[in-house]
């Protein structure tokens, strides 16, 4: 397990990186020693502010410890140093109270300016609503009604070291948040269960998503590209497994994407009215089950004493009504969410059908999207 070869290879690289970091802050980005390359004005401001304060700290540190180590090397008994007996100096004490104070004021001015700019969410061109769940993100574009969930796309086998890890291991999602470049985008942020935090370092944007609160933040992305981030507030067992991926595209491309999403939604709505075969439902349900697997496990075994198993469970093998009720309305006071708000009729019908006929459960029945629709009313 301890790969010493890798460690030995890393050593000179990291040392070289350390040197570069001290010489040039920008070049250091390649060595993952400093902030990621900023792609918004705010992120660039934050980078500059961060480096300014960093250098002020370095200068203070070097001055203080040059003096201390000079004393350590020169004023030692073994060199015959005789101890002086002074033990106060009002002048000195006033000086070293006042100088730090002045330095602090010098830091506070640019910091205040950046903060005011960062928190100014007025004049936005568009809004995106973000809702955090254990352990996924929901994105909604209120202008067009487009709305989807975004979950980790890294295969479980990679996490469990059964497959080689991909380039964007843990930083890849099924549905990316697509945003236009050059427009001021206001995010309105909340959470459904516990506190999360939405963070994309290259955008310079981070804020907590808190149930019962709506927080605001904004960004204007300068260049097209894919920007990756993660949940930053501990939110339970899969806190490390709910990444954020933003794809910034040209405005025209963005408009085309929105139109395409609307098309997908209406096609989906048409499908909801047809009658599905059990096989179709199970095939689709298996995909939807990825959402359930976060707690109930990929094989439906759950986690003893924490998350109940679906395999052989009384609900998943009992009457359809009770099963649908639990999936659609959740169980208050636990991590079991009300999926009626998160999944469409087809997905609910599919996943319930799948659960009743997988992991050794063999009820043999199926649930139609129309049944789900009827329950919603």
């Amino acid at each position: 397990m301890f790969d010493t070869r890798r460690l030995v290879c890393a050593l000179p690289r990291a040392l070289a990186g350390l040197g570069l970091f001290l010489v040039s802050g920008v070049a250091a980005a390649d060595y993952a020693l400093n902030f990621q390359r900023p792609v918004t004005e705010i992120a660039a401001d934050l980078y500059d502010l961060h480096m300014l304060i960093f250098w002020v700290c370095v200068v203070i540190f070097v001055v203080v410890f040059t003096i201390m180590f000079y004393a350590v090397f020169s004023h030692r008994k073994s060199r015959g140093a005789k101890a002086a007996s002074f033990h106060e100096s009002t002048t000195l004490e006033v000086i070293w109270t006042v100088i730090p104070f002045v330095i602090l004021i010098g830091m506070a001015i640019p910091s205040t300016r950046t903060l005011l700019k960062m928190e100014d969410t007025t004049g936005a061109d568009m809004t995106v609503n973000i809702t955090a769940y254990q352990w996924k993100w929901e994105y909604e574009y209120p202008d067009s009604g487009v709305h989807f969930f975004s979950t980790l796309a890294t295969p479980r086998a990679q996490i469990l070291n059964q497959e080689e890890k991909g380039e964007h291991y843990l930083l890849e999602v099924d549905n990316e948040l697509v945003l236009p470049v050059g427009r001021k985008i206001r995010f309105s942020l909340t959470a459904n269960d516990v506190i999360h935090a939405w963070w994309v370092p290259q955008l310079g944007v981070k804020k907590d998503a808190i149930p019962g609160f709506i927080n605001e933040m904004w960004t204007r992305i300068d260049e097209p590209g894919v920007y990756r981030g993660q949940c930053a507030e501990l939110c339970g067992k899969d806190h490390g497994f709910m990444p954020i991926v933003v794809r910034a595209v040209a405005p025209a491309e963005f408009d085309a994407w929105v139109a395409a999403q609307k098309g997908v939604a209406s096609a989906e709505a048409a499908q909801a009215d047809k009658t599905w075969s059990r096989e179709e439902l199970i095939a689709r349900g298996e995909k939807v089950y990825a959402q359930c697997a976060a707690c109930h496990g990929p094989t439906g075994q759950g986690v003893p004493n924490v998350f109940p198993a679906i395999a052989g469970s009384a609900i998943a093998t009992g009457p359809v009504d009770g099963h649908l009720d639990r999936v659609m309305n959740g169980k208050p006071g636990t991590a079991m969410q009300a999926f009626a708000e998160q999944l469409n009729d087809i997905d609910i019908a599919a996943v319930v059908t799948f659960q009743r006929n997988a992991f050794g459960n063999s009820v043999g029945d199926s649930v139609q999207p129309s049944d789900v629709k009827a329950r919603r009313q």
């Binding site: 004393a71 004023h75 910091s111 843990l170 808190i210 019962g212 501990l234």
Partner: protein
């Protein structure tokens, strides 16, 4: 020195420790307890670092990983550092102020014996259905409301630890105010006494606040209240405000007594009086005051009003001023001294150096807009370990090396002490320095698995953690060896040592200052 009406020596056997009201015995109990918890917390840190050796889940589940980060923090803070300094206070305060014992000896016994059951409860939580607390030591709801019975064990354990701290603080304040030898005015008190005096007030002020917060959590969990539940009209952010009103002064509770220790050790080995005694006292008091008005810098990202974000930024930046005064005073004490570098002095210099690094990264974190990027990343993990490990842990070790000859009557093994020092400093920096880079590059804290670009520095960190842990075996060996024998210590022990504790014989007799000395 011993009074003829009192027993000279301690009773034998286990009951000596169970029934003892002697400040030296109780101090010893506290210190051994702290060492035990330090090892326990360290083992949990090794579980964390082992899992983070490489990307992917190898050793533990994500849920257990979260339990380890949570319990590691609680054990180190409440079981390791706080009892270590209460132990030092018990041993040293009466000897430093010329008192025969603590003011309230029976309560002293009770405040120690609350700790083992509290620690047991906390440990047992890991074996409850659903496991131990896994929501971080900050216990933020709603996440902590989701946890199993382990969270309730933790809450009860925190209550017991809190009661112990409050009783200990009352005792310390009562001792300092009432038991000083004739002639020892407040402004003649040694600095360790001063820093503990101020720390005790901090504890009295904030432990009840923590108790209130966790009690509200308990009633939210079991008795249908909705203090922190938005669906019942509650407010999850309220918990964070209340918690950090405790949590920030707590940081100074952990480091102020160590500042006191440095103010004894540095003048001793520089053979020169402490520079700026009065400003040290006032700087300590100022830090204590400021610690009450900066709490929300732990939660800049919750979405506070602009006025709040600015206020907490400015107030937090101000802490740099009195902290700077302390560092400048220590450096000035060394200046034109006649220094020697025995193990306690090495520790003291390393504490000043490393703690200042933590202080400066703290200054970076105080800048609200920049903190939005640092918050909840490994940069924060690196920062607070650079504050707490040097100041609190290495500060306590510094104190142990400094006073161990007085306690045992034997000199510790200087070679082993220095070996322990260098291994600890190298291990510590190897563990935590790379974490600055990880955080800046975007690695969130409290994650059990990470993206590939973070691998190298995590491996440095894990290698450092094992070195750091292994070097503590040297510490245990030095202490055990010194307790069992060694070169006899003189009464003064160190050439430059000054203070009442150095006027009594080594080892310190079971009862000291039955007749108070007179301080000029």
């Amino acid at each position: 020195m011993a009074d003829a009406h009192h027993h000279d020596g301690p009773p034998a056997g286990f009951t000596r420790w169970l029934y003892t009201t002697n400040h030296k015995d109780i101090g010893t109990l506290y210190l051994w307890f702290a060492l035990t918890m330090f090892i326990f917390g360290g083992l949990m840190a090794l579980v964390i670092r082992s899992e983070l050796w490489q990307p992917g889940m190898q050793i533990v589940t994500p849920q257990f990983f979260n339990q380890m980060t949570t319990v590691h923090a609680l054990v180190m803070i409440f079981g390791g550092v706080m009892p270590a300094f209460v132990g030092l206070a018990n041993w040293l305060l009466p000897m430093m102020i010329g008192a025969p014992d603590m003011a309230l000896p029976r309560m002293n016994n009770w405040s120690f014996w609350l700790l083992p059951p509290a620690a047991t409860l906390l440990t047992l939580s890991l074996f409850m259905p659903g496991g131990g607390p896994a929501g971080g030591w900050t216990l933020y709801p709603p996440l902590s409301v989701q946890g199993g019975m382990g969270v309730d064990f933790t809450i009860l354990s925190i209550h017991m630890l809190g009661i112990s701290s409050i009783l200990g603080s009352i005792n310390i304040i009562a001792t300092i105010l009432n038991m000083r030898a004739p002639g020892m005015t407040l402004m003649k008190m040694p600095l360790f006494v001063w820093t503990w005096f101020i720390t005790a007030f901090l504890l009295l002020a904030v432990m009840p606040v923590l108790a209130g917060a966790v009690t509200m959590l308990l009633t939210d969990r079991h008795f249908g209240t909705h203090f922190f539940d938005p669906s019942g009209g509650g407010d999850p952010v309220l918990f964070q405000h209340v918690f950090w009103f405790f949590g920030h002064p707590e940081v100074y509770i952990l480091v102020l007594p160590a500042f006191g220790v440095l103010s004894h050790v540095i003048p001793t080995f520089a053979r020169k009086p402490l520079f700026g005694y009065t400003s040290m006292v006032f700087a300590t008091a100022t830090i204590a005051f400021l610690s009450f008005i900066v709490w929300a810098h732990h939660m800049y990202t919750v979405g506070m009003p602009m006025a709040g974000e600015l206020f907490f930024m400015y107030a937090t930046m101000l802490i740099a001023v009195p902290t700077g005064v302390k560092v400048f005073n220590w450096v000035s004490t060394m200046w034109r001294g006649s220094m020697t570098f025995e193990t306690p002095m090495l520790y003291a210099i390393a504490v000043v150096f490393l703690f200042t690094m933590g202080g400066l990264s703290g200054l970076m974190l105080s800048i609200t807009p920049a903190d939005f990027q640092y918050h909840d990343t490994y940069f924060v993990v690196a920062h607070f370990h650079y504050v707490i490990f040097p100041a609190s842990v290495m500060g306590a070790m510094c104190a142990v090396y400094f006073w161990l000859p007085k306690w045992t009557g034997n000199m510790y093994d200087e070679k082993l002490g220095k070996l322990h020092f260098w291994l600890t400093v190298i291990g510590f920096n190897l563990t935590f320095f790379p974490q600055h880079f990880l955080g800046l590059a975007g690695m969130p804290r409290r994650i059990p698995d990470y993206a590939l670009q973070f691998t190298e520095f995590n491996q440095w960190s894990t290698a450092g953690a094992f070195l750091l842990a292994a070097s503590q075996l040297v510490f245990i060996w030095v202490v055990v060896k010194c307790v069992r024998g060694g070169e006899k210590a003189t009464d003064q022990v160190w050439e430059g040592a000054e203070g009442l504790e150095w006027t009594i014989p080594s080892p310190a007799p079971y009862h000291t200052f039955a007749t108070p000395p007179t301080v000029k």
